[in-house]
Symmetry: C4
Subunit: 220 residues, 4 copies
């Protein structure tokens, strides 16, 4: 068993993920009273809640996006057992992009109904390209010749992750291209990407559970 | 002993709980000076503090609510020893609802004195129904055929948790019904629910401590 | 060795402490430009920094106060090895008071130069009385008949902590009395209390290191 | 193996680092709509994004600065295995300076284009001098006669860290001197310092990995 070395790296990352994931809830602000200080009746208040639609949408999107990124981080750091300064730097770079995600998400949520304005969608897509690239760098750096992985690692799983990560940046590059001419379509594309990664992760995990090495570590 | 697999899931959740539980303290803002820049005398200042009543009430309510939710999370993840992607997703969904709790709590605190306005109470009750449902989903998914539980788990305890969770969503559904016609009453009902769950947890725990398996893990 | 049971309780508490301790830095806000949008020259900017004096003072005070409270929490939970629901509730109550500390601290920092206005000092002193009481409740509850302590605990250390905690609330009660008639004096008194507790902790720790049981756990 | 004693100290520090590192993202606020409520077209929006330049620059700088500080903290606490109250106090003092870093960073980012205004650069340089001094105090206190280090520590590594830390404060003192007469130059100097420390850490780490004691702890 060669488990321990990245514990504090993961704890720090978890803290940053935890703060980043909650940021957009600060934007959901109902103004509970009318200008004259009287309370709003139910019809007015539901209108107020509906007006928070884009903010709520941004909060939910950003929460699930960062949540999925945490899953990915969790997933690759299950295999990374050691670290060096380069990995720490790449991880800080990744965390910076994660913390930045609420910014373009919030902007995009305001512009999702305007198909002719592309800046928000482009900024969003660039952020995700940067993030996918950074995940790739971390994984390639750590898994190159098994540099920072555990000793009795399941190469089957490692290779599958490498293959899946290989075309991530390419897909997000397509996302930028779509964002250049149609904002709502690029949002749909982003969702499809997220669902795809989530499901491939599920199937990966399912196979994963059947490999003897993994089930061993679980039962120990 | 099959302890380790959910450690990072719990650490990340703890971080999100920790941020969520502190959010409403940001709303408590005294304006320490009069419009002319002079300090407020003691009578004025106590008035200022009293005017923060709803905000303080929201902070305290939200703190204890999220605190109790942390207890519940802690309680069920004491038995959940493994995870898969579905559980991670359900957990992220739950955390999103937890982080959202301060929003309806803050709104409700402003409207608690207006029995004729129901929107705040309904939004609050819906949030809690969603949360109770989500806890149920996590527990049912993890405990189904002991899927993600430890190997030598105490089925007595598992079944008791399952039974207690079964009627949680139903009770919160009643909460929504009450919120539809009387805001203060629905707040009282929410409190009674929280106290009930807290006490049943206490009695559960007390019995728990007497089961030999549990006390074994404690003394190891 | 009976170590593990309170790990997640401590991790969650650490998260809440970490958020609470950073809250007041959000209040330090320089306005870097003049009303006409031009940059401020060095004289103006030093004036701007000096004007942040009370905010900076509040940040530093609150940071060290919550830091010392973390020390205390750390100190008593080194001996508490198990938990029950009552302890979890008391801990949540304590954390709520900790998170609230920045509020009266910030208010007091604005009023420290006005000896005739007592509200801020009283609110501050009440908060600290509540906190000291809460620490006492946790410690008495956990240490009563060694209820939640480890099995081979050093009773010498336990009794010394109990004795030290016994007169904490009394001292803070005196603090409230002082706050009723003189704000700056009550601030000085608070500082003396903090220094006293810090130093008695140091001397305790020093003796602590000499007890064989403690040094055993260190070397294992 | 004498590992465990500082775990909670590190977990709490990680939480504070995680909150501090995300603070400046709160300052990045696009105003997505024109004064008349209409959306901004792409040209206007890119202008809006460019206008966030100093804020983005502050966010990135502060993120990497605090990230590097976390690396340093991680690095020295890998060797510190025990603690006493003095170390805890020094650590709280260090964390306070870390949490403060976003404040001068944000101010400096606004003033980086004005070489004739020095206050921001001086405040920034003083903060970093304080931080370097604090890291030095922690390291000297802990490593003095191996006071709080592990038992079979590699003195080669310890001495190298001590040597590297020795001239840190001196360098930052030079930074203050530069800030007194040229703001942009002092920013360049700060960057060179950060890069220097990062690289010396890399070379240290590389040698580190070859020492048998270190690789032993990794493979265990």
């Amino acid at each position: 068993m060669d488990e321990k070395d990245t514990n504090r790296l993961e704890a720090f990352s978890d803290g940053v993920f935890a703060v980043a994931i909650t940021l957009l809830v600060l934007d959901i602000k109902f103004s509970p009273f009318k200008a004259n200080g009287l309370p709003k009746d139910d019809a007015l208040m539901w209108g107020e809640i509906l007006r928070q639609g884009p903010t709520l949408f941004a909060f939910i999107t950003s929460f699930f996006t960062i949540g999925i990124m945490w899953l990915n981080h969790h997933r690759i750091f299950k295999h990374i057992k050691r670290y060096d300064t380069t990995l720490l730097f790449l991880n800080i770079l990744l965390l910076m992009i994660i913390v930045f995600i609420p910014v373009p998400t919030s902007l995009l949520a305001q512009y999702i109904i305007y198909p002719d304005y592309h800046t928000a969608a482009i900024l969003y897509a660039i952020t995700f390209l940067a993030m996918a690239t950074c995940f790739n760098l971390i994984w390639r750096y750590a898994s190159y010749n098994g540099r920072l992985l555990g000793k009795n690692v399941d190469m089957h799983v490692i290779n599958r992750i490498s293959r899946q990560y290989a075309f991530g940046p390419l897909l997000y590059l397509i996302g930028i291209a779509i964002a250049l001419f149609n904002t709502p379509l690029s949002v749909v594309f982003s969702f499809l990407l997220a669902i795809f990664f989530a499901f491939s992760e599920i199937s990966l995990r399912r196979n994963n559970l059947q490999t003897p090495i993994e089930s061993d570590t679980v039962s120990k």
